[in-house]
């Protein structure tokens, strides 16, 4: 067992636990905090994959920006109180959960049968995940989607103003 494997094991356990805690917590603030922890563990898992840039952006964007927004909303709306769970879950919930577990099982199974044998990161992988390599690809190959996504951000800005401003 190398250090990476050990690290991955610990991070994976924490990631699953914090994910479950996000979904199960009665208190929205507790949910949000678990989610922040989850984002940090994912960043750690990205590091075991040697994807440094994504790991950094993960912390900056998700844990930094999006979660601040969510926590802000929880505080603003003062919905930090405990939530009653749904009494007898509807048939959709049960079917959905069953289908979800099947999906996870299926992906896991195919991953172990189909993909098995890919144990080692290729030697160049430390280079693939650097800011330099990604920037090169982003601004050469994927310049068009990069410009196109600015439309999306513009739409989001306009939309947030329209929906949330008291008086337009």
């Amino acid at each position: 067992m190398s250090v990476t494997v050990l690290l991955f094991g610990i991070l994976a356990v924490v990631a699953v636990a914090s994910g479950i805690s996000t979904v199960m917590s009665r208190n929205p603030v507790a949910s949000a905090m678990s989610l922040v922890l989850h984002f940090f563990t994912l960043a750690g898992i990205y590091l075991t994959l040697q994807a440094q840039f994504i790991a950094a952006v993960q912390v900056l964007v998700y844990a930094g920006a999006i979660m601040v927004l969510v926590v802000f909303m929880i505080m603003l709306l003062n919905v930090g109180r405990e939530e009653q769970m749904r009494e007898n879950p509807g048939y959709r919930t049960i079917i959905g959960t069953a289908l979800g577990v099947m999906l996870a099982f299926q992906v896991g199974k195919t991953a172990f049968t189909d993909v098995a044998g890919r144990h080692v990161l290729p030697p160049g992988s430390a280079v693939t995940g650097t800011t330099e390599a990604l920037g090169e690809t982003l601004f050469k190959m994927y310049l068009f989607p990069f410009e196109a996504v600015s439309l999306l951000l513009l739409v989001a800005v306009v939309g947030a103003v329209i929906l949330a401003k008291r008086k337009i």
Binding site: Q106, V107, T110, A111, T113, D114, V115, K140, M141, Y142, L143, F144, P145, A148, V149, L151, L152, L154, V155, A156, V158, G159, V161, I162, L163, I168
Partner: protein, 481 residues
């Protein structure tokens, strides 16, 4: 680079103009009229650019194979722009009547059309994803546009939560396809899937494809992912519903056709047969569920929403057929459906005149022929076309799709389609009967459609012209593949 811009002219042009529309609105106080005029102009310009690129001599790609130019995409661009213009013309009287006219509405419509352009032109999973998101996020906002209305905001919330949920599946599907094919571009994926060695991980590819089909099915409201449609279409402002249920659906299908062509292996293989059968079953279920649910509806928007589910089922027949005839049938049907569905919804929006109470229930339409003979006549045209009665556009749309399905060996699917069309007669013709042969005791004040009248006339003309000379569009549609 310049050549890329010229070949893909509609996309950069409309993106720039849409941003300008937004700026214009910010600069000019109370300038909604100018913003409106400029928006219509922008769409017309984009349409002209699309017509120009459609006749490019050869089919090329632009920006490192991120998008395709001309041909297929350009045809859909024209359809989207047409839908946009019809919506905008009807939107102004609608918004003025409810006293909610803001320039942002027009720029959001333009932005959503930019997203549809990206979808129709996408030649890369990334472009497709961004296109879908630009369109969907605009729709979430537009359906909640009347934010003080409980209906509107409820529709918006439901649409957003379910839409974002399904986005997760969509991206997961894309990720698995990427992992299996090793690339995001359609060309590379095609080579990986069709090549001699096949995809790296065939099972992962199938799973990814399934998830991607789920995602796109949601966007086009196909059973069992249609349940958002009635609520959202009923709650959203009627004019937004008109746009979402036509252009939005057309965009989803414009993504469906190329992605299935890329991912389905050669038509003789067993996997292809299985995928075709899956699509056929989905199609049959969609049209039956849509039409049967529409029968029991009391609210007209809800009824049309279920009928739009059924129409997605008809279009799905073309996908199941998996042939050029099927694809061109979808293209024709999308065009015909655009006119008839948008016409019906715009007519409702014109009758509503800014109130969320008037003309919502089917019984409100009793005796409409006496009060508004022209409106009743136009509504009858749209309803007859939606039923699929000749000589209107809907008939030929169904005809092309049915023959495509039969040619590919799906006779049972065609029989189900005919049965469900017969079911749909009940509520479409029922509305006409109510308008003409039932009396109403409600006194009605004057209800002039204003600019919406132009949209209505264009839609009705489109329905009739497509019904009289369907060969014209059919020929163009066939030349796209």
């Amino acid at each position: 680079m310049l050549q890329d811009f010229l070949n893909s002219a509609p996309i950069p042009l409309l993106s720039a103009l849409a941003t300008l529309v937004m700026l214009l609105d910010a600069m000019k106080r109370d300038g909604a009229r100018i913003v409106f005029g400029f928006s219509v102009f922008s769409l017309t310009a984009a349409m002209a650019a699309a017509i120009y690129t459609m006749f490019l001599p050869d089919k090329t790609t632009a920006f490192n194979n991120m998008i395709t130019c001309g041909g297929y995409g350009a045809y859909f661009d024209i359809v989207f722009c047409l839908g946009g213009v019809l919506t905008l013309l009807a939107a102004r009287p609608f918004l003025l009547a409810s006293n909610t006219e803001h320039g942002e509405f027009y720029s959001l419509i333009l932005f959503s059309i930019c997203g549809m352009f990206l979808i129709a032109h996408s030649n890369n999973l990334l472009t497709l994803f961004i296109g879908i998101e630009v369109m969907s996020v605009s729709f979430y906002i537009l359906s909640g546009y009347l934010r003080t209305s409980r209906f509107s905001i409820e529709a918006s919330l439901k649409y957003f939560l379910l839409g974002a949920f399904i986005t997760g599946f969509l991206v997961y599907g894309m990720a698995l396809i990427y992992g299996s094919a090793g690339a995001l571009g359609y060309n590379e994926i095609y080579q990986a899937v069709q090549g001699e060695t096949g995809a790296r991980f065939p099972m992962i590819l199938l799973l990814g494809m399934g998830l991607l089909i789920i995602g796109l099915s949601f966007k086009s409201a196909i059973f069992p992912f249609h349940q958002w449609a009635p609520d959202v279409y009923q709650g959203a402002p009627t004019i937004v519903t008109a746009f979402m249920s036509t252009a939005g659906k057309a965009a989803a299908f414009s993504a469906f056709i190329p992605i299935l062509a890329v991912l389905t292996p050669e038509s003789s293989s067993p996997v292809a047969a299985k995928i075709g059968m899956l699509l056929a079953v989905l199609s049959a279920a969609t049209m039956l569920v849509g039409n049967i649910s529409a029968v029991v509806q009391k609210n007209i928007k809800r009824m049309l929403a279920y009928s739009s589910v059924a129409h997605a089922g008809y279009m799905m027949m073309g996908l199941a057929a998996g042939s050029v005839r099927g694809a061109s049938g979808i293209v024709f049907y999308v065009t015909a459906y655009m006119f008839m569905q948008i016409g019906a919804f715009i007519l409702i929006s014109a009758l509503e005149r800014g109130s969320e109470e008037r003309y919502q229930n089917l019984e409100d339409y009793a005796g409409l022929a006496k009060k508004h003979p022209v409106m009743a006549a136009l509504m009858s045209v749209f309803m007859l076309s939606l039923t699929g009665i000749p000589p209107f556009a809907g008939f030929f749309g169904k005809y092309y799709l049915f023959t495509a399905a039969i040619e590919s060996g799906y006779t049972w699917l065609t029989i189900i389609a005919v049965i469900s069309s017969v079911i749909s007669v009940y509520f479409y013709i029922g509305l006409i009967v109510a308008m003409y042969f039932r009396e109403s005791d409600v006194q009605e004040q004057d209800s002039r459609p204003g600019l919406a009248g132009i949209s209505l006339v264009i839609s009705a003309a489109g329905v009739i012209i497509l019904g009289v000379i369907p060969q014209f569009i059919d020929k163009i549609a066939k030349s796209l593949f």
